[in-house]
């Protein structure tokens, strides 16, 4: 009994296991669909919309939509890529992203996507919102200026007994991520490290460390994000 389904991405015949999310199915077929809030192996949330594709002509988030038989997916067109680029630009102007002084620069997924889409300047005016830095935790620093509210930390960082360490607080433009004071104070080194790594931007930083990799050798200095998938 075969559970494989056939579908097309930009006209290319692809195959994947039934129920696979489009992003994963594309990856298995050597096609990169940009993602930001998605984490491999964790239930998708579909909050950033960077992965928007056209599914049978309708815009859908590729990280939350499973492939079905005969699906026609459009991924790589100037229009779709410009929509993605505009989302990245919104994220830049909504926060305070001073890349030249950011510890995550060169390893940041938001910045890497801006490089991929050649963002020279956001098309929207800068907001320069008033945001703070929460340095109360003994192991990590939470910089709200750079947080893109992707929820990755909420979804992926849990204690051994399954409790969330991170949570949303407030609403709208004031929305921010807080660390549970008690659970956060008892962070194991591994969990703190995992939180730093799960954050796509420089909003969760390790204490007493930073700028360790020289410019030129960081993850996205020479290599375009997604090119590892496209090479296959």
């Amino acid at each position: 009994m075969s559970t494989l389904v056939k579908f097309k991405i930009d006209g290319v015949e692809c195959m994947a296991e039934r129920g696979t999310y489009i992003v994963e199915a594309a990856r298995e077929n050597g096609i990169y669909i940009p993602t930001l809030c998605n984490i491999r192996g964790v239930k998708p949330r579909g909050s950033c919309r960077i992965c928007t594709v056209l599914v049978n002509s309708r815009p859908m988030s590729a990280c939350t939509t499973p492939v079905t038989d005969g699906m026609e997916i459009i991924n790589d067109t100037p229009e779709i890529n410009d929509t993605r680029k505009s989302i990245i630009e919104v994220l830049f102007v909504e926060g305070n992203h001073f890349c030249p002084s950011c510890e995550k620069s060169g390893n940041c997924e938001l910045q890497a996507l801006a490089y991929r889409f050649q963002m020279m300047v956001p098309r929207f005016p800068y907001i320069f919102p008033n945001k703070t830095v929460d340095a109360s935790n003994p192991k990590i620093i939470k910089d709200h200026n750079r947080c893109i509210l992707c929820k990755r930390c909420i979804r992926a960082i849990k204690t051994d007994d399954g409790k969330n360490v991170f949570a949303f607080k407030k609403r709208g433009m004031k929305l921010e991520i807080i660390i549970d004071p008690e659970l956060g104070d008892n962070f194991t080194d591994e969990l703190a490290q995992k939180a730093v790594e799960i954050c796509p931007v420089g909003a969760i930083l390790p204490r007493e460390k930073g700028y360790q990799i020289p410019i030129g050798k960081r993850k996205y200095d020479q290599v375009v994000i997604g090119s590892d998938i496209e090479k296959k």
């Binding site: 992203h97 890349c99 030249p100 490089y115 050649q118 020279m120 300047v121 800068y126 320069f128 020479q222």
Partner: protein
């Protein structure tokens, strides 16, 4: 045919972008073959003596003088290019954007740890001094900017490629490694 004329300025910047222009090394000899410089810290011409083709702007606008100079550049240059993060988004000077101006001045002249002697608590305020703006503005929020070269500073190769493309009309080469935000 006369050479295209280039003007440059540093507004609220650190001169790093100008350093990056000089970082083209021996290509500087090609550059002076290619273009003529007018108002610029590079040749120390202080005021425009003719209309220019290309204006390179380093730094954003943090005070009234920056605005004045930027508008002067817009008036005298056919093409304006925002060079570097400060021109594009305010850069490090814009770190003050969330802080009220009074607090900034108090910190600089009265409370700051490096303030040596200011018993009367004087904050400089004179007609000769440019007024600080309420926040630091990206150049394109003040005048129309035609092109943007990101980087802190933009790689010398990016500035060179852009100048050559503007002067020759050839397509701009943008290799992945040269377009960076830091």
């Amino acid at each position: 045919m006369s050479k295209p004329i280039v003007a440059t300025t540093s507004l609220a910047g650190c001169f790093g972008c100008h350093m990056s222009i000089l970082d083209i090394d021996e290509k500087i000899l090609d550059l002076i073959e290619l273009v003529e410089f007018n108002k610029s810290p590079i040749d120390d011409i202080k005021t425009f003596t003719k209309k220019c083709d290309i204006g390179l702007i380093e730094g954003g606008c943090c005070n009234s003088e920056n605005i004045h100079v930027l508008k002067d550049f817009r008036k005298n240059c056919k093409i304006l290019v925002s060079v570097g993060e400060c021109a594009i988004m305010g850069g490090l000077p814009a770190l003050r954007n969330g802080i009220p101006i009074k607090e900034c001045l108090d910190e600089a002249y009265i409370n700051g740890p490096s303030v040596q002697h200011n018993p009367k608590g004087i904050i400089p305020n004179d007609d000769e001094l440019p007024m600080l703006l309420d926040r630091v503005y990206p150049c394109h929020e003040i005048v129309k900017i035609d092109y943007y070269l990101p980087g802190c500073p933009p790689r010398a190769e990016l500035i060179w490629n852009a100048l050559v493309a503007l002067v020759t009309g050839d397509e701009l080469k943008l290799p992945y490694e040269v377009v960076k935000f830091d």
